[in-house]
């Protein structure tokens, strides 16, 4: 894709707000995706950063989190990278069903499920040297589903 932006922040929770701001202002300014999808993107990126900060801090080396954004007319891709110990995203523990009173014993483990359902595509690249979470939001073909709002934005801009 033709344009990319890179943001490197210390592995501290107080910087995640800045990352959200960058990602959402980039998406808004470039009109890459519809407003509703920007909230999806913000939350997904935020979850990925929360995990990246935790992984970096567990590894103890004080490495920063690197956020890279690529945008193209009908697409925005954000990669969140850490230098932590890695994990296998396919073998995460499942929660008890919400109807089970036991559900209340689980305050965590909602980040990856949220990412998966918020973005159109997610790819985890993880090794013992670190993890990259690559999330993509597409602008869908006109009229096909909610993501097609991008098309409407583009059209209304041309008026």
């Amino acid at each position: 894709m033709d344009r990319s932006l890179e943001l490197t922040v210390p592995s501290r929770p107080e910087y995640i707000g800045v990352v959200r701001l960058v990602v959402s202002s980039l998406a808004t300014a470039r009109r890459a995706i519809a407003d509703e999808r920007i909230d999806d993107l913000k939350l997904a990126v935020s979850e990925a950063c929360t995990n990246a900060i935790e992984a970096n801090n567990a590894a103890g080396a004080g490495a920063p989190v690197v956020v890279t954004c690529w945008e193209a007319p009908e697409r925005i891709e954000v990669r969140v990278s850490d230098s932590g110990g890695g994990f296998d995203p396919e073998v995460l523990p499942a929660h008890p069903p919400v109807t089970d009173p036991e559900r209340l014993n689980f305050e965590r483990g909602l980040g990856i499920p949220l990412i998966r359902s918020l973005v159109d595509d997610v790819r985890f690249e993880s090794s013992s040297n670190g993890t990259s979470v690559c999330m993509t939001l597409f602008g869908a073909p006109e009229g096909s589903d909610e993501t097609s709002e991008i098309v409407r934005v583009v059209i209304s801009e041309q008026d």
Binding site: S46, E47, T50, L104
Partner: protein, 113 residues
């Protein structure tokens, strides 16, 4: 950037906690502390008004689940007030709409049931 937390005790037996701003891994600990504090002070029917929340992540959800658990274990309850689609969406995706009572206004939440 600051998390706003305001307590209204005028609707006894309900205690209304209004949350304003962004609830994420940075600010969620303050929300957790406030909920723990309220329960330990004896508040049992807590209404968390999320109408002023601009952003809520999984850490925020976790704190609310923890608060609900704590209250239930004291025979209390936690009701949420939320009508913003983007915040409701986070509860829906995670299935937590079936775990929490979610009201459309503080009035509704404190009307008793």
């Amino acid at each position: 950037m600051e998390l706003g937390l305001q307590v209204d005790e005028s609707r006894s037996p309900y205690t209304v906690l209004s949350v304003k701003g962004e609830v994420d891994v940075y600010s969620a600990p303050r929300l957790r502390e406030k909920l723990v504090e309220l329960v330990s002070e004896g508040h049992r029917q807590i209404v968390a008004d999320l109408e002023g929340v601009d952003f809520l992540d999984s850490t925020g959800l976790g704190v609310l689940v923890g608060g609900l658990k704590r209250l239930r274990s004291h025979d209390g309850d936690l009701t949420l007030v939320c009508t913003q689609p983007r915040i409701l969406k986070v509860f829906e995706i995670t299935g937590l709409t079936s775990v929490f009572k979610i009201s459309t206004s503080v009035d509704e939440a404190t009307r008793g049931s």
